[in-house]
Symmetry: C2
Subunit: 277 residues, 2 copies
């Protein structure tokens, strides 16, 4: 049995992503709900579990900074897979609650960011409370009721017996989240792979350009670049880059060797197959 | 009198940044505290106020996404100045409250992100509640007391009569926030200027590289690049870039003209003097 962790309880988007990832093979896994993303990632790092599925990026709200920061600096894990999930956020409350009764809205900070315009325009006076998961928010609303509402998946509404007061409340129709599966090892070549790295450039003009120039020289297609603060100084960044290809491909191997030489910090994060989406 | 908006009430880091920006010239300004960053930015856009000072980037927690998203897409404002503030976060509570009494911690989501490790290690069981400003958190703690604590500036503790239970609780010693001053116009050339733009690239391999290549050709120094999701599709990004120089400088003017031609979306965000830091 592969022990796999996710942001629990059941009914979270992470739980849905885990079910999609396991597919028909669910019986091969024992699944473990954790209370926070750091707990899950340290769980794999410390050997409590073998794998974990965590969100890394959302099409509206952007990077999940806690995931990026921990995999860049705090743990030594590899990405072995990804799942892209279409996300529909819903406003849910205890049966009988009316829209005009709602005084406080609970959710994870990511869905709150995804629904910022909706909250500001429909509930300018409501208090917004951040909790550790959408399902945790639904659970709290189910227990306390009153003027509370949660933002989360339809699965969470069903799991906690809540009514959906408003469907599809995210800002913009196209709301998807990319989850990564991390483990102590990445994946062998499948022929439709991508490779993730994180690096920081030297502190001189044109240094990021010189790195991207290496991909250009080797004709490697970069599919994503995400900057995060380097934390030691304002204006210094680390860059998360995804490229097409597997670490065992000749051109990827050569380009990474060169990039390692030309960066002040470099970490290989894994080669793994593309999500079918 | 210049009407300038900030994230109020008094005692927030935005208020401190405003005092630093106005300097000896404070009597030339009438200052207006707003409840949220969107309210401030729309306040300038709608002509309620002439200028606003808002946070854009923190050295630990990264971009202030709400500021970036609004100036990129929703309002037509120019950046006319910046201030970099060294930020020290403190845990504060009503007089007599002990560390072990604390059940709930209130703050703005940015300081909560800046103090993530501290909260997780010292208060793993505390509830974390997001409010609109650090001073608002201090105010709520001063009114309700009980097991509540706020995270914010020493100025907020003083303004609301709270005791500081722990000083400098941010993750890492180097915690600074860059604020921008926005208005309907940017600034004339001072000789020590930078220029901010935001653009999205065409959806084909190497398109970001080709833009950075333009800066390289014109020998323009890029000081910052920040990616944000384009919101219409996962994997599409917009890029916020700062370069050294003023829009009226010949080389900056030529490079921007070329970049405008080579991008699918381009917006000039302003030329303004560097913060003395």
């Amino acid at each position: 049995m592969v022990r796999i962790g996710y942001l629990g309880p059941e009914g979270t988007f992470s739980h849905e992503a885990l079910l999609k990832y396991a597919g028909g093979n669910l019986c091969a896994y024992s699944i473990h709900g954790y209370a926070s993303i750091p707990d899950i990632l340290y769980g794999v790092h410390n050997g409590e579990i073998d794998e974990a599925i965590v969100p890394i990026e959302n099409s509206i709200e952007g990077a999940v900074s806690v995931t990026l920061d921990i995999i860049a600096a705090d743990v030594d894990l590899k990405i072995k897979g990804e799942e892209v999930m279409n996300i529909k956020q819903n406003l849910m409350a205890k049966k009988g609650t009316k829209i005009e009764d709602i005084k406080q809205i609970l959710s994870h900070p990511q869905p709150i960011g995804q629904c910022r315009k909706y909250i500001n325009s429909c509930f300018p006076n409501a208090e917004v409370k951040c909790v550790y998961s959408t399902a945790g928010a639904a659970n709290e609303v189910a227990m306390l009721g009153g003027g509370l509402a949660a933002i989360g998946s339809a699965a969470a509404a069903e799991a906690y017996g809540l009514d959906i007061l408003a469907h599809n409340i995210q800002d913009g129709d196209n709301n998807s989240t990319r989850f990564i599966v991390v483990s102590r090892d990445d994946r062998e070549r499948t022929g439709h792979d991508k490779t993730s790295i994180v690096f920081s450039t030297e502190d001189r003009p044109g240094s990021l350009y010189r790195i991207l120039d290496i991909f250009n020289l080797w004709d490697i297609n970069m599919t994503r670049i995400e900057s995060r603060p380097a934390k030691n100084q304002l204006g210094r960044y680390i860059f998360f880059v995804d490229v097409v290809g597997h670490r065992s491909d000749e051109d990827v191997k050569d380009a990474l060797t060169m990039i390692k030489k030309k960066t002040s910090f470099f970490k290989f994060l894994g080669s793994y197959p593309y999500s079918p989406g």
